[in-house]
Amino acid sequence: MLQAVTLSCRRGERRLFSDLTIKVEPGTLLAVVGENGSGKTSLLRIFSSLLPPDEGSILWDGEDIHQLKELYSGQLTYIGHLNGIKDDLTPLENVMSAINLTGEACSRTAAQEALEAIGLKRPVHRLPSKVLSQGQKRRVALARLWLSTRPLWLLDEPFTSLDAASTGVVTQRLHAHLQRGGLAVIVTHQEVDLPVERVQRLRLTG
């Protein structure tokens, strides 16, 4: 279970949000919506432990994530606003090195299956990523979701530059993750096509 307790955040002089308390239960998804600059991404970065909150804390199963440190990192898969892929590497190499980075081994076939699951065909796997379109690059980043065994997913605008079909595939993957008891926090400006009882919406007004 993921909890935010009396969270507040300001960037420079501007107060983004304050006294925010929210709970995300296993099997549910928190969709953070709001205008540009309302602090959605900051909130996600606070959840990821990249950004320390100005006040308040984030609890994972009742323990402060800044106490848990690397133990908490071992619980999450974070896909930020940046794709985290290298232009000079092929999609296949990108997926494999991203998984290696988390300390897990990743076989070539597993990576290929993940890329195919998100609709990237075999020939694309061997091109340098710099020739891919924005949507294809985003899909390379999201392919990690098919290899992730982590209970908590933090996704920043996962559907940006994805076509309808890919959006559907990612939504299905999210649904499967939630059905297995996973948690997710996503920042989005789109409606998420998931069963109502699984989705909790948080609107930041800025």
Binding site: E70, S73, L82, G84, E93, G103, E104
Partner: protein
Amino acid sequence: MSRSSMWEAVGGIVRRDLLLAMRRRSDAAMSVFFLVIVVSLFPLGVGPEPAVLRTIGPGVLWVAALLACLLSLARVFTADYVDGTLEQMVLVPQPLAVLVVGKVFAHWVISGLPIVLLSPLLGLQFGLSGESLGVLVMSLLLGTPTLSMIGTIGAALVLGVRGSGLLVALLVLPLYVPVLIFGAGAVTGSMAGIGAEANLSLLGACLVLSLFLAPWATAAALRIALE
């Protein structure tokens, strides 16, 4: 968080960075060319007097190596910072300082090792004797990893900061002074016949010290840069 997963992560970083360097060989070649050019300029400026060149040789080679290391620092984290892989690196279940060692090692292989391998040739330009050439290689072998270690602290501190190229030089060069003194001192010492062992062991001590302290400072600086 087992030991094997840590090696997996560190090995993954080293493999990926080396692969990236192979894809962009010109980047790695640039610091080597820089070194050769700088070193070659000195005899042209000072004059071809063999005795003079022998005297200034160790210092010139070491200062040039130091500047070449400095130039390559911008590459250590900038690309990772821009494309988001640095975020991923900070959010893994392994201690960040250990991953930093992997990054530094890869960086050293790409930009430090070529300098070490090339240095005997450059030493010949300055009329260094066979034994002194050996000491030069040895001192660079011990010294350049230290330079990479220390340099990455500066590279992490200036990530995404305006005017970072000059700033990193200002931050890092004062920290390079001891390595320069011991490194050039080792070669000078061997030429003067007083032996290089003491200087080399001090260089080794610097390496060990930087290996223990620098990754923590770099890790702290990276976390701060990503906030």
